[in-house]
């Protein structure tokens, strides 16, 4: 991971910064300069909702090198309140307990071990929520 590449995504990964289209209200994450729904170009800053449900998921058994020590781990597509969807790991629960439709919330966690660049990568993961 090159430092600039890691650094420039920090607003999204650490602070969940997103943008809301001023004409149609669609939330884009990561932020875009053109709304994918209506083509609008004016946005207001917003923060991703932190609660949502697991729409689908898998358990990764064969992982890329930065994730080998975490195997097996669950990754899912999570639909947050308001309709934005993200891909994130689902942690803090037995893998066999994860279900489609399960309620989760976002927490700030370490994502990858330090690779060649020596940067330890952080960001969001999902944990079960009541």
């Amino acid at each position: 991971m090159f430092p600039a590449r890691y650094w420039r995504e920090i607003p999204q990964r650490y602070r969940l910064e997103a943008t809301k289209c001023k004409s149609c209200g669609k939330i884009s994450f990561p932020p875009r300069s053109k709304c994918p729904k209506c083509g609008g170009t004016e946005f207001e800053e917003t923060k991703l909702p932190e609660h949502g449900v697991v729409r689908t998921f898998t358990v990764i058994r064969v992982a890329p090198s930065q994730f080998v020590e975490q195997v097996p781990y669950a990754v899912g597509i999570v639909e947050l309140h308001g309709g934005v969807r993200i891909t994130a790991q689902i942690v803090d629960c037995p893998l066999e307990d994860i279900k489609i439709g399960q309620k989760v919330r976002i927490e700030f966690r370490r994502i990858q071990e330090d690779g060649n660049s020596g940067i330890i990568c952080y960001g969001y993961k999902c944990v079960p929520a009541p």
Binding site: R55, T58, I60, P64, V75, G76, R85, Q112, G123
Partner: protein, 385 residues
Amino acid sequence: MREVAVLGIGMSEWGELWKKPLRQIFVDAASAAIADAGVDKIDSMYVGCMTSGLFVGQEHLASMLSDYLGVSSIPACRVESACASAGVAFRLGYVEVASGVSDIVLVGGVEKMTDVGGDGATFALATAADQEYEVYHGVTFPGLYAMVANEHMDRFGTTREQLAHVAVKNHKHGSMNPRAQYPFEVTVEGVLKSVLVADPLRILDCSPITDGAAAAVLCPLGLAKKLSKKPLVKITGSGHATDTIALHDRDDITEFAATKRAAEKAYKMAGVGPADIDFAEVHDCFTIAEICVIEALGFAERGKGGEAAESGATALGGPIPINTSGGLKSKGHPVGATGIAQIVELTEQLRGESGKRQVKGAKRGLAQNMGGTGGSTTVHILEVA
């Protein structure tokens, strides 16, 4: 627009080609296609390749491959659209001939994947997904398709066994293809006992890592009639569409909307519908992909793609044979070459040259090639001229 024929086809050997560099693999396929076409010159060339930079550290294939093919003065261009690279190369060559810009165009695809280890290949292939918002979180390509499979199973009741039936069928077809990388048969039990990669997908649900190339020579149909002694095959439909790069940005991840849109365009152009297609080659990079894609193409009702594999509807002898070549699953999947290899299978079937796996009375075939999790797709329809 001029009518366009597939004048010649060729493939290299496919498999783990330790002794052959990328340039030789491509030249093997291109030379075979040029010989099959019986032409002594080509006017222009498009080569699909997903990521030679990551697999062998070589870019600028336009120069290298035209040089080693011995045609180094012609316009040449490398085309990248992940695993749909060759499908897009084919479409660009078709457009160039149809438009009248060139008469004889070589379209090809090549990938040399085995010079890197498993980890390097996983990394290279994952560049077809969103690096910052999917891959960053530890998802792999099998993982992305596994999420599609879980949603398809949850929504439509598709079973784990039905996924296995796709692999069983394609390996059975591949066992009749002398060029297949893995020309052996597998059983449902064998698939279900194979190693888990990303739940519910197992290793025998996944297409392999392959070195290989494929090529075709295109020309106007009128010229083909003068040049060719073989049964003529013409291109009657061409569709191409894109979708979001991140799977999570799609409202319906099992729909494969780009495939649907590309197919609509190709069907409209050819003036036909799914019921008029005799056989098809589709992008079965994972078993679940074939299930979703045949639904998007209209060969199975929504949610019934798994049943189609289980019932034998998509097997040789069924109403719509799918992947008679063995598909990506058994024939192999050198990612940037696959789209043209599908055209090779269609052309051989339409010429009646497919031997034991010949579809009886094949007059019209369809090829669907897609990149990533369906972020780009081409659909082509070929017919006996």
